[in-house]
């Protein structure tokens, strides 16, 4: 039942003085972490008579590591929480997950003060009550919670904005870490870089994978290309899973300073597809393996595109992982023919338990044993999955479905384009029209080129009507391009762009 803590204890015994975590300029050994974890486990246990359900409200990865493993030790529940949420959102999220203890960083004291939950206990993460002297645990109480298997609850927001609490058990978390370790052949000698916050499932994965393996974790709280490169070089990082938007931001640095990045054995791209030319260039410059994965918090990694298939299957996100099955469904929930776009449904042994106390959402999220991802894609004759986009990101222009990724793929082939996001903007005549928001390297006078490229590479209905050039694309807290923010920003800029067509035709 306590497999996360037990595994951590095992690897600590092997080399307790080994550096487990590097955060900015600070280093923490496995022994240091273990002592803190034991102390916090005792404190959390004596803080309430109930089963501790502990929210962590902190930017510090040290806090998250210690609290989450301490929680695992006492068979309690951890709810990593995004500190950027408003007090109302925090209240909603914690009420939805029955949080009864909040461990917080002092800078968030004001937010805690107005959270309207009763009763709950707030403990500052540097609280003096946490001593290194571990009191013996009340094993009977800990044992009594064995039947309750929820361990980690990730708060994802549903389409209505309601919190969607994704429950993962300890066993599942450990198995998921094992899946990543074996997929990329990681071992205790590896140095793993994490740039994702702990409240995001990628951040959790990149914490548990190295720490349950006896490897080292390097944490970068705020992403910048410069800091990323410094950390990789200074700490001799060997493994990263990076969101695609970060890799695009690193594009020129990765290629220009490849010599300093030779420690990298494997780069994995997650959250959005990376264009094939870029992958090929990185491979040639650094020589490391480049994988692309597709997955969701609910099902972990579902597919993997390994380097051996990168040359021929670069437009796909690879094949289903071991024991994972994927099917593509149409709107009537029937399996579609090979090559036809539909919703991606995943059957995985690493599936989440449920949405906490939301049996309605849990039921709606499955078709039999297959999790409905809300993503669109298709499978080719050899079983490779191509990710097309989020169902809700589809643009419908003139009644025709347009997948933003198809458009982004063409635009990103322009040598001046660093990054591009394609969205639909409401239009009186066509329902929606296509807008491309671009980050150009030096020259933003490329609109005419982009029109030409899209004319050659896309059908007329797929071509953007407008191009906007910006310094950077808005990102979500987890580093993904925020199409929601883009839609909000560009949605009201359409001052009848299709008027010319109306005039010519009608």
């Amino acid at each position: 039942m306590y497999c996360i803590y037990d595994q951590f204890l095992e690897v600590t015994k092997i080399d307790s003085s080994k550096i487990a975590l590097r955060d900015t300029d600070k280093e923490y050994s496995y022994q240091y972490l273990l002592e803190k974890i034991d102390a916090w486990a005792s404190l959390l246990l004596i803080s309430t008579r109930e089963r501790p359900r502990v929210a962590v409200l902190s930017d510090s990865i040290l806090d998250s590591v210690i609290i989450s493993i301490a929680v695992a030790k006492i068979n309690a529940v951890c709810v990593p929480t995004n500190p950027q949420m408003t007090s109302e959102q925090l209240t909603a999220g914690w009420l939805a997950t029955d949080v009864n203890i909040v461990v917080y960083q002092s800078k968030y004291a004001n937010k805690i003060a107005v959270v309207n939950i009763s009763p709950f206990i707030a403990i500052e993460s540097t609280d003096k009550k946490v001593s290194n002297k571990t009191e013996s645990l009340d094993c009977e109480r800990v044992q009594s919670w064995c039947s309750e298997s929820d361990f980690l609850i990730t708060l994802s927001s549903g389409s209505t904005g309601d919190p969607k609490p994704i429950v993962i058990t300890q066993e599942m978390k450990a198995l998921r870490a094992q899946q990543t370790s074996s997929l990329y052949q990681l071992n205790a000698q590896d140095v793993v870089l994490c740039v994702s916050p702990f409240f995001h499932s990628l951040g959790q994965r990149l914490v548990f994978v190295p720490l349950l393996l006896g490897a080292s974790l390097v944490y970068l709280e705020k992403f910048s290309p410069k800091k990323w490169l410094e950390q990789v070089q200074r700490c001799q990082v060997s493994f990263v899973i990076s969101v695609a938007s970060h890799l695009y931001a690193l594009k020129s640095s990765l290629l220009g300073e490849a010599d300093q990045l030779k420690s990298l054995k494997t780069i994995v791209s997650s959250s959005a597809p990376i264009d094939a030319q870029f992958k090929e260039k990185i491979f040639a410059a650094i020589g490391c393996d480049f994988h692309e994965i597709y997955g969701a918090t609910e099902v972990a990694i579902a597919t993997n595109l390994s380097p051996q298939h990168a040359a021929t299957k670069f437009t796909t996100v690879g094949l289903a992982c071991e024991q994972v099955e994927i099917k593509i469904l149409n709107d009537a929930s029937n399996v579609v023919e090979t090559g036809t776009v539909g919703q991606i449904a995943v059957h995985s042994p690493l599936v989440f338990s449920n949405y906490y106390k939301r049996s309605d959402l849990t039921k709606a999220a499955f078709n039999g044993e297959y999790f409905l991802t809300g993503d669109l894609g298709f499978i080719d004759t050899e079983g490779f999955l191509t990710y097309v986009g989020r169902q809700k990101d589809i643009i419908i222009s003139g009644g025709i479905n347009i997948y933003p990724k198809d458009v982004e793929k063409i635009i990103s082939q322009h040598s001046e384009i660093e990054q591009v996001a394609v969205i639909g903007v409401c239009d009186d005549l066509l329902g929606e029209v296509i807008v491309a928001v671009c980050v150009a390297k030096f020259d933003s006078e490329i609109e005419s080129d982009l029109h030409r490229m899209c004319r050659k590479g896309l059908a007329s209905y797929q071509r953007p009507l407008k191009y906007f050039f910006v310094e950077a694309l808005p990102l979500t807290a987890t580093g993904k391009v925020s199409k929601k923010a883009l839609r909000a920003e560009y949605g009201d800029k359409n001052d009848d762009w299709t008027a010319v067509l109306k005039m010519m035709l009608y």
């Binding site: 005419s448 007329s460 407008k466 009848d496 010319v500 067509l501 005039m503 035709l505």
Partner: protein, 85 residues
């Protein structure tokens, strides 16, 4: 000078229509009406106007395009060229 510009614009339009319709450039008559002949669908028409504006850095007011003469390749080319002078 303007003659050259008109020819440049005309060539751009003809190439655009050729790309869209798979019709050989030589077979596209500059005197033809690109809407009447059905060579371009509505998305392509919209796209062509926007591409012309981006390429030659001109701007059409929607009202101008209500003029049916501008459905003729040559006339549209002249209208774009006139904005450049």
């Amino acid at each position: 000078m303007i003659v050259n510009t008109v020819l440049d614009v005309e060539q751009f339009i003809v190439e655009f229509i050729s790309d869209e319709s798979d019709m050989e450039i030589a077979l596209i008559d500059p005197e033809s009406d690109f809407i009447e002949t059905g060579l371009l669908d509505s998305f392509a028409i919209l796209n062509m106007i926007i591409s012309l504006e981006a390429k030659f850095k001109v701007k059409f007011e929607p009202q101008e395009l209500a003029n049916k003469d501008l459905r003729i390749i040559k006339s549209l080319a002249k209208a774009v060229a006139a904005k450049l002078t």
